[in-house]
Symmetry: C2
Subunit: 127 residues, 2 copies
DNA sequence: CCTTGCCTTGACGCTGACGACAAGGTTTAG
DNA sequence: CTAAACCTTGTCGTCAGCGTCAAGGCAAGG
């Protein structure tokens, strides 16, 4: 499988695959003419990467999962390192959730205030 | 008030104030020697900007609020344009909150799966 | 006079995950 | 012979909100 096909099957671009390789996440054999050649394992690796990135992971966070897959596991999250990252990410998400909830509250009260003020100062313009 | 003092009082840096000015958010008089001179109004403007950025706004989103302050209002959120942005931002936050909640769920179930798998394959290593 | 400490503009660096383009080699089909 | 459709490496651009020099001017104190 060449890079174009892998990109297609993984739902991404050749550029992206070379980028992952440059960062040590994806590996490729080389054919005589220098083309990258991938096997099915790499397809699974790329899909794992994509799934994790979609969820807000960084490339560095993804590494343990890839290593876990390469170690022969059927899923990338069963290794200790992956679990560590998972726990950390959940904690991070919780922080953001709290923060965002507070932000939402603040925006809501700001909006309420704005509407109230508009009614006080511009009664004529109410529908 | 010179730029250093304004920066200090607003809890930011001169660089940041020049940046805001370059993007049309903050205004300054100039003294004979070319120094920027600010009044109290600009301090309030800068504080409004900072508060909104902290909450996740972009500089473009902030513009209506600054204009609202400049129009003589005591708070930047009482003008129609500001309200539009407020509503949009709240909606955006809601989307992110939903998304993040789903992500949290997924990570949680992944973690559960990983732990279960570890117990199956590595019973010896359980504490 | 010289240092210190403000200020000025201009320009590059940074983070992350790529997109886009350049300039070229290979293989296959017509 | 040539065009099409792959592939290669390398480099610059993108978004946002600044940080961090660089090189220089201005004002005041010892």
């Amino acid at each position: 499988m060449l890079i174009g096909e892998l990109a297609e099957r993984a739902g991404t671009s050749p550029r992206t695959l070379r980028y992952y390789e440059a960062h040590g996440l994806v590996r490729a054999q080389r054919s005589a003419n220098g083309y990258r050649i991938y096997d099915e394992t790499e397809l699974r690796v790329v899909r794992e990467i994509r799934a994790l990135l979609d969820v807000g992971f960084g490339l560095d966070d993804v590494r343990p999962f890839v290593a876990c897959l390469r170690a022969g596991n059927t899923s990338g999250d069963v290794c200790p390192d992956s679990v560590v990252v998972l726990r950390r990410k959940i904690a991070e998400v919780d922080v953001v959730l709290d923060r965002l909830g507070a932000v939402r509250e603040q925006l809501h009260s700001q909006l309420t205030h704005a509407i109230a003020h508009r009614e006080k100062t511009c009664l004529r313009r109410r529908k």
